[in-house]
Amino acid sequence: MTAIPSYLYYIEARWRKVFEANDYGKIDRIIWYDQEGVIVTGNGRRVRALRYADGLEVWQLAATSGTNSNEETISKSCQVIKNRFDPGTIHILNDDLLWSVSSYGEMLWSIELPTKPTLKSLFLFSTSQYVIVTSLDSNSNKLQVTYYSKQNGAQAFSSSIPWSFNAKDSQSKCSTMNNIILCANNAELSMITIPTTIDDTNINTRQIQFSNPIEQIRVLYESNTRSIVSIKTDNAETKVYQFNKKDSTNEWSYHELNIQIKSNAFYSVVSDKNSGGQQILEGSASQQKLNFYLSTISEQTLTNTRSYSIELPENMGDIEYLSYSNVKHTQFVTLRMQDASLLVIKLADNGAELILHRDEALSSIISVEAFDLSLSSGQMRIEDEFGGTEMFSMFVRRISSQISQLTSFVMRLMNMFTNAHANREYMDKQAALVRDEFNLNKILIVVTSVGKVFGILTQSGGILWKHYFTDFAPFEHFNTLQVPLFHIRSAAHYTHPPLASIVYRDRNSLYETHVRTFNPYTGDFEESLSTSSLPHRIKRVFLSTQIVNDFCKVLLFVDANNKIHTYPTVPLSRALSTTTPTYIYLFDKAEQAFIGYYLTINENEQESSTGLKEVWRVAFQNEQVINIYTRLSSDRVHSAGIVLGDRSVLYKYTNPNLIAVVTEGIDYQKVPFVSIYLLDTVTGSLKLSHTHKRVKSPVHVVLAENWIVYTYYNQRYRRYEAVSSSLFEGEAQYNYSSFSSFDPIEPVIQSKAYILPYGVNAIQVTTTEKGITSRDIIMAVPNGMLIEIPWMLFDPRRPFDLTSMDREEGLIMYTPDIMVNFESVINYYKQVYNIRGIHTVSTGLESTSVVFAYGLDMFFTRVFPSRLFDQLKDDFDFMFIGWSTVAFVVGSFIAKRYAAIHQTKKAWK
């Protein structure tokens, strides 16, 4: 069955609710009621109910925080259950807190559990009278079972049973079902039945033996009398067991269901209201195809099996989650695929039908690069026209290109007259891929954390192509994910298409590294520049400075033995400039040290691996490096200095080798602090160091030209602050023609701190082609705004008392608050949330920089930091200018005539 767009089920997002970006917004569990869903977030600390109809938050409850508010101890585990005998009550357990909430928004009770480092709460059960918490006492290796009253939370009873797993295994290998704990112990499944009443004290333990070690236990369905569990063993075999409660006893009987065994199948079970039995849906993905088997469970076997299959529009990998629902006799399957696609498939008698496909991967972008669009054929011909060197050939080129321009113009005119609207759409699509006059439109290549790469056109936001890498795993960059994405060949060489490369790890074996090179316009692979596995384990990858073959740059890899390799293999002397010495710095996480190496390039060497020689080392003690920032590769510095009010020059210290290092730690007085360093990566010297006490990360840093702006949260004053520092050489320049990190320049640092009106999610600076335009800081704030703030407001030279000299220079008087004008919100009311990064690209117009913000949402716009100085305004009156020019020309002719007549008359007098 092919997927036909369905107009019967037109699906669009009706409402959306964005939760907090931090831990409090992390969803633990959703309990679906008829009208509203109860959502537990923040490790069981916040509960809210959203109405399905309009997305209104009906109520919200927050757990009264336990005694120790230190966030380090909050464990990442949280148990939420709906009481089995009273569906309107929800019990929530996190490490030290047990509380009950009713479905209409009332907090019934909350109790603090005893916190001991050895005691760890594991599972939560419910009966009609009790809430049962089992916690592991790692001292005595016993599982404590504590009964709390369902009405008021009073502790009623406690018992303990021997327990053989440690806390971590208990969480990963065990799951609960009704009042049974199922634990996988190698090839053995243990069933531990917890008694539900105080009278019944015998804890029942039974084992089921398997032939292979158990990998995963998944509870597919549970009701008071019946449960269905799938058990996956490590030979990729899945067994489905049905558990039935024996009448009037606490005993459970089980038997295996006879299912068709598929290695990568997923199951979903719903109860069929008509028959009272259960339906089981088995789904599996193979290549671009999804297969479903829907059966009714009757006692031992599956009956009434129907099969469906559907061809997917693209490769989406395996199924990650599957849920089957039967709404008013319409059967829907909701799937989340490995590439984070959300699929809704309708199963009908005439086959399966794809009714919704959303690329949710776009909310997990980790790398962005913008590519210029290709030149139009006319522009290419102009490039050709001036390509020759010989006089005669240049002349011939010129004539031929002009003739071809003329013919193409005539052809276009002919085409316009003959078939005006025939191929409009196709033409528009072609036109969208051609560079516009000012190079304002780009193509964005975005890499997402799941391994899906998209090509997005900026003028429409439309996805041009997408590709899912099934073996993808990103690299880690401190606490974030990162995928190196490079311009191998830029769009400047119009005879060759541009190329982009991504480097990623293998999903299964993290030692394998893949390089994939593709054309950013089409997504087609360049097989000659792609490799499935590099023969060495890589520490770091970067791009060569020199163009090697076919206008392509090569990738340079530092391997585990500190040897440099190139891919594709070329001599290093061709990949890197031999006249400029090259230094390489690497940050070692284990040592918390930056190590600088000198790279010796041997001109005669044909082998591409070369050793590194350590030249410096900067180690951090008692503080932990949390991130490093470099300046943008497109950063341009236009002027070498700042003109002061008395017309002298303050020269900028523009060291291209500086990086910003952010560290965090706790000092001897137990005060947390954050430090910022500017490290010269050639010499290893620190050019700036700031330490802020009682300050919390996240620290966002922008490093550009000769300045740095960073933001942090001030815990003492409970506000977000920004610090701006500039580095200057002084009144005289050490060397006006070249810059070396070894020059004995002690930069003069000027700094100012400012108070920000909002928190900061991401921060970036605008980029323009030549760097003449003044800079703006683009800031994404938690309430969904993107704010453009002139860097002038962050200028560390803003004076306390404004003298006439400062006024001459155009400085603004220092005020600690950065006032944000609502006009400077560049996304107006199109709010974008949880922005993780901002990418700025220069355009062909010096005044214009384009901004792409990504996170949960994406936003793209153009900004004009110095207004439109090289462009006419939109409301420029061309008609008025045109007509007044015509009027002046005509008027001058008339006036000339009159003047001649007048002259003659005067002569006759």
């Binding site: 384990r537 520490k539 010495p581 070692d588 017309r647 080798n657």
Partner: protein, 200 residues
Amino acid sequence: MTSQHSTTNTSTRPTPSRRKWFIDFQVRRNDRLSVTTNENNTTVLANTNSTKLLVSPLGFSEQRLSDLLTHEDDEHLLARRSWDIALQPIKQLPMNVVLAWMAGNSFSLMSIMIVVMLFMKPIQAIFSLSSAFSSLQQEGLVGNIWLHKIMYFLGNLTHLALALYKCQSMGLLPTYNSDWIAFADQQTQMEMSFGGVTYF
């Protein structure tokens, strides 16, 4: 009857005349046309038909005699007139200084116009240096006036200096480093560095 009196400077020093030429319609009895006989035969022939030509008496001179020696007077006048012209720019200088001072150092239409005028006038004057002294020649005063020309030139240079000073005080002259900073090339990088955090 026509009669032409042409002033010729070739042979003798001519009497200073206010007219280059004139037509005399008066018919005189003793018309002195005899002098032109050998030059203009047609007129002579025409005249002979109507009137009887008389020969000038002895001692008659065509030149009107002046009763003073003009030569020394010319020298004196030349000196006075040429010094007048030569010192004219210097005399104008104080006025221009006042004008420049009045214009102020701020940029406005007036001050820009005055600066332009301060530049234009002396440059024009220098280029039209010979024509400034040509009125002397018209008056027939000829002499050695190179010193005066130099003086005139120097005087105009003072005007130019004033204009430059005005520009300087208005900040229009590129005399500071800051005026040349836009033309400075980017510094070349002596070292390259790459790197970052290790992936494992």
